[in-house]
Structure formats: structure tokens, C-alpha cells
């Protein structure tokens, strides 16, 4: 098997607040034989500014990204949202076609069909919108088309895991980048409703492919003093917890 040379992009807020997600992503990719390099001078994809209407200010981020990642065969990041932004906005470089979100890289490029992972908990899968509707990680409930779910395909390989059902399988959590503070009331209500759906169906852990949504849901869970935790899907796929 040829060794895939992967540039690891760890989004800014994951770098700063959730280093364990970056570590799990790195370890997972190495487990599957990739040569992984983390360019140290990386910062952010530029999405927070672009989604706020300041796309014209993102050239600094874009140039930096191209400088950091041009040399790699593949660029992988544990975030559907940042990956979608890069794919849609880094025009004039070959980066968009080399850019993968972690789950799709595992299922589509590495074609992972078995995992040495175990995670004996009831888990609710939060489908983050940009990964799902933007990158097509899973079928969307609005479309009349056959179902599939790449995150679920991977989670099903984990021993001991029990995936719960949800009343609303792909409703937005309300994070939405700067929306979460600009439209605080609606954002929080959306998050509370998402959390309630997971708790109602007995989730012990909420997972997903986007830490930003999970950060928002975690903030609500902690405020409610709930025992339910959030875990990025990379952490579960890299887990060795025995029952």
C-alpha cells in the first residue's frame, strides 16, 4: 500500500480548546498508515470572517493556508464546516480537490471497513449541517433519496457502541459561527432543543464530525449540569474503552 502523505489541518478553536480531538485525529490517520504532518504555522480557514460578510478580509488566511498545505497529497481536518469553507473559497489553487473532512477521508479514500475501537456507551449522532448538507457526509432528510451516513458507517464498526435514534435526525444545533452570539436567543434555544432530543432518547454521549456544534451543545449541557458529554467522532473511533 502506498503511504498517503497527509497535511493535518487542525481548526483554530480545536487547536486552542480541544487538543485531544487533534491528537485523536492524528493517531487515527497514523493507525491507517498515513504519513501525517502538522504544519506549525497554520491558523484558521477564514470562515468566521467570510460568514459574517467579510470574505474580502480572508486573503491573509487563504494565502497562509496555501503556503502551509500546497505540498501535500491530501489535506485532512476534523471539521466539516472548515473543510467546506476551504473547498468553496480557495479558488485558484488545487487545494479544494485535495481537501477532506476526516470521516469522508476514512470512508472514501482509506476505505476503512474495520476498526480496533470500543466505546461502550449510548451515543447520539449530531449531523452537522456543513458536513452533511455541504459535503454530503449523509443523506439529508429533506431529499427524497436513498439513505446513507458515512459517520454512522464508521461508528457501526466500534465495539460496544449503541447509537440512539433521534426525533429530528438532521436539525441544525444553532451554532452557526457568529450567529451563536449575534442571535444568542435563537441559537441557545436551538441548542437546547437538540440537546433535549438526544437526552430524551437516552444518549450518554453526543458525537459529531464538527467540534464547533459540539462546543455549543457542551456549553448548554454544562450549564444544565447534565452528565451527558460531547465527544468528537475522532475520539470515539480512536477509543479503547472496555465495558
Amino acid at each position: 500500500m502506498t503511504k498517503h502523505r497527509v497535511g493535518l489541518f487542525i481548526p483554530c478553536y480545536v487547536d486552542q480548546f480541544y487538543p485531544q480531538v487533534g491528537i485523536a485525529t492524528l493517531e487515527l490517520l497514523e493507525k491507517f498508515g498515513c504519513e501525517v504532518v502538522y504544519p506549525p504555522n497554520q491558523t484558521c480557514c477564514g470562515q468566521p470572517m467570510a460568514n459574517s460578510g467579510f470574505e474580502h478580509l480572508t486573503t491573509g488566511c487563504n494565502d497562509l493556508f496555501i503556503k502551509n498545505f500546497s505540498e501535500f497529497d491530501y489535506i485532512v481536518a476534523p471539521s466539516g464546516s472548515c473543510v467546506l469553507h476551504i473547498k468553496e473559497h480557495l479558488h485558484g489553487s488545487d487545494i479544494p480537490k485535495k481537501m477532506y473532512e476526516l470521516v469522508e477521508f476514512l470512508t472514501d479514500v482509506l476505505k476503512v471497513d474495520s476498526l480496533e475501537a470500543s466505546f461502550p456507551y449510548k451515543v447520539g449522532l449530531h449531523q452537522s449541517c456543513h458536513g452533511q448538507r455541504g459535503l454530503g457526509l449523509a443523506q439529508m432528510s429533506e431529499l427524497m433519496a436513498p439513505p446513507f451516513s458515512k459517520p454512522q458507517q464508521l461508528l457501526d464498526l466500534v465495539k460496544g457502541i449503541e447509537l440512539i435514534n433521534l426525533d429530528r435526525v438532521d436539525e441544525c444545533c444553532g451554532f452557526g459561527g457568529t450567529f451563536c452570539v449575534a442571535e444568542e436567543a435563537v441559537s441557545v434555544k436551538m441548542g437546547k432543543d437538540r440537546v433535549a432530543d438526544h437526552i430524551h432518547h437516552g444518549a450518554e454521549v453526543i458525537t459529531g464530525a464538527d467540534m464547533s456544534c459540539l462546543m455549543h451543545l457542551e456549553g448548554i449541557l454544562r450549564r444544565q449540569k447534565s452528565d451527558v458529554r460531547v465527544k468528537h467522532i475522532a475520539e470515539i473511533l480512536n477509543s479503547q474503552i472496555k465495558a
Binding site: C12, Q20, H130, M144
Partner: protein
Amino acid sequence: MSTNHNNHAALAAAFNKDEPRVEWHDQTLWWVRKKRDIAAAKVPDWEALRDTASRIKDNVLSNLSGYLRQFEEEAIRNGITVHWAADATEHNQIILSLLQKHKVDKMVKSKSMLTEECHLNEFLHENGVEVIDTDLGERVVQLAGEPPSHIVLPCIHKKKEEIGEIFHEHLGTPAGNADPQFLTHAARLHLREKFLTRRVALTGVNFAVAETGEFVVCTNEGNADMGAHLADVHIACMGIEKIIPQRRHLGVFLRLLARSATGQPITTYSSHFRRPRPGQEMHIVLVDNGRSVHLGRKDFRNSLKCIRCAACFNTCPVYRRSGGHSYHTAVAGPIGSILAPNLDRSKYADLPFASTLCGSCSNVCPVKIDIHEQLYKWRQVIVQEGNATAGKKAAMKAMNWVLSNPSVYHGAGRAGRWFMLNAPFTVNNGLNAWWRQRDMPVAPKQSFGEWYKKNKH
């Protein structure tokens, strides 16, 4: 008009003060979304049908002037009087002059979002004309002195008990009676008298067929028909984008409209109006009101494909939790948020930001308008035209400086985490909109970058 920048957020925050009500509103509309899913799933090749509708509308938008002239010619041949209105003012004036010509100061009107857009009711009221909205939901909000909060379900924000109170006050129904069947019967008696006595009826238009000069009005209550068939004068008002090339295209749009809107296979009445009955006058007012300008905007023109089904409202997690009035425009929801900036960028600068860009709206849209992508594009236009607040501009410039300079970013990250660990009160306070209802993430001692440097190098 910087005071308008936070309108949606502020109005939505006010709506969210009553959390059980927000939940009720959300669940009611989600139920409609689910009905739409069930209805759509029953149609083989639903997605192909959406695609066909979208392509027919592409053709319409590319040949709009031709189809409009064809429609005018055919309509005149059918005995309909055709009027052209460049804007809301002209539209309202045309209606008023028709009423004055017939010496009439009372009129019935079925559902027409266009007349809401033009604020016709207010204009006619100021000119001494009494307008009775005959769609039940419209009548409820009219009696309540409010605009509709939803283009298909105008009083969806009202509970039946509140409607009972409104009817008690205005129609004399017994206090405390909130039985929907009873209230509907009371409305029917009330409206019956209006239908029988009004000489002018105004209706909206769902589709106008260029090939035949006819137009189609879809209702569930038959109120458009009651008004039009009993009146001496039927006035129909339509935005110029409502045109479709041929009658056979109704087979596409009528299948999509009601399923997308309410999950019904078809509206109870899909009434075709082709020519006035003997002795009746029939007028059609074709209204531009910014549409031809919009048509010239490459990134935004295809929002003119909209058939006003409101599927994007019902699926929108923000709309469901902020209520239609928070959009402060006649057409609310995701589609309203991309149409309104066309009319007034300053007044509606907040609306393209009233979204998480989740994309559900674009997926339910029966004519495949890229709604969430247009929301993103409007944000860029609004900022470029100077409609962002000074604070936001400064914050974005600072963010750009930090994120464009790795050493600054690393320093800022370390400093930020240090403050969160050692002086949490600097972030956990009422000024932090994140923290008010959510805990901050627990800051780790080292970032991933720092861990990598230590362990992998």
C-alpha cells in the same frame, strides 16, 4: 439606519421570552414540515419534479418580457383589462382608481402576499376604503391588527384560545369559546355577508399562463372564488414573476405547490380564471416593484422563481424559533431574507444574518432556489456597501490580523487560555453573549500545536 441592524435578533429575543410558546410554534411548524416530507415521498421522482420546475422557471426568467407580452395579448383577447404597475405606489393607485370609478368603498380580498408587500390595505384604509380579508387566517390577523406572520399560514403564531378572544371581541362569539369548528362557522357566517354585499373582489395569482392569458388562484377555503364569482369587478394582482409559459406546466407546479406548502396533494381549489362572465369586469395588475432590477442581479435573480409555498419557513430552525414578525417584512423566513434586501438593503441588512446557513431551506425548495447560498452572498454585499456596524468591522479586522499572523495567533491563543484558566471572570460575564446561557469550554493547558511540538518533533 443603523438602529435596524439588530432588528431580527432583538425581535427574536423578545419572542423567546416565552419559551413554552416558542416550543409550541416550533413543533406546530415542524409538524407541517413532516407532512410535506410524507407527501413528497409519495410522488415518484420528486427530485426530478423539482428539477423540472426549476428549469421551467429558468426559462421564464430568461424570457420574461416575451412571456409577459404574450400573456397581455392573450388576456386582452379574453376580455381582461391589463394594467402595468412599476412599483407599489402605482399598484395601489390603480386599485384605488378602479374602486373610485365604480364608486365603491368596500372590497373583499383573498390571500395576496403582493398586496401585503405593497401595503395596499393601509393605503386603501387611508383613502376611506374598507378591505375585508376573506382568507380565515388573514381575517384573524386583520382583526388583531397585525400583519401575517407566515405567507401560507398567516395566523400560525396565534393559539386557538387567542383566536377565540379576537372573535369574541370583533364577531361577538361567546367569551371563552375556542372550539375551532365553532369559530370557523362563526367566521363563515361573518364572511358570507361580506361576499354577498361587496361589488369588488381582489384576488392574488398563483400562476399566470402566457399561452392562454388565464390565471390560476389556489386556495383551501374557496374564498377567492366566492369573492370573484359574486362581485361585479374582479381585480387580480400578480408579481411579474408569476408567469409560466404553458398550461401544461401547471402539471408540474400544482403538484409541487400544495405538497411543499402543507403536505396536501393539491389545494382544495385550483381555480382557473380566463375571461370575465357576461356583465363582469376582470382586471389584472402586473406589478414589478423591484423585480426587474432583481432580475439583473446574477447572484440573486433566481429567487424570483419562488412560488410562495413557504416550505423554507416550515423547515427553517430559526424561523420556527423566532416567529414571522421578527423578520419585519411581508414575506418572512429564508426566502423573505433574500428578497427583502432587494427592496431596501439598509432596512433589511439584518435579515441575511438571521440564519445559520444550515441549508435545509434550499433542500425543500420546490423550484431549487439556492437560498442559503444567496444569504451568504447578501452578507458580503451588505458589508461591502457599508451596512455593517463599526464594532463588527473593528472586530473582523482584528480577527483577520490575528489569524493572518501565526505568531500573533499562537500568542493570543496562549493568552486567551491563560485568562480562562486563571481569571475566568474575564470571559464569564454578562457582556459575553456566549456565556449568558452556555458555559465556556474548559481551556486546556496546552494547545494541539504545543502538544505536537513537544511530542512529535
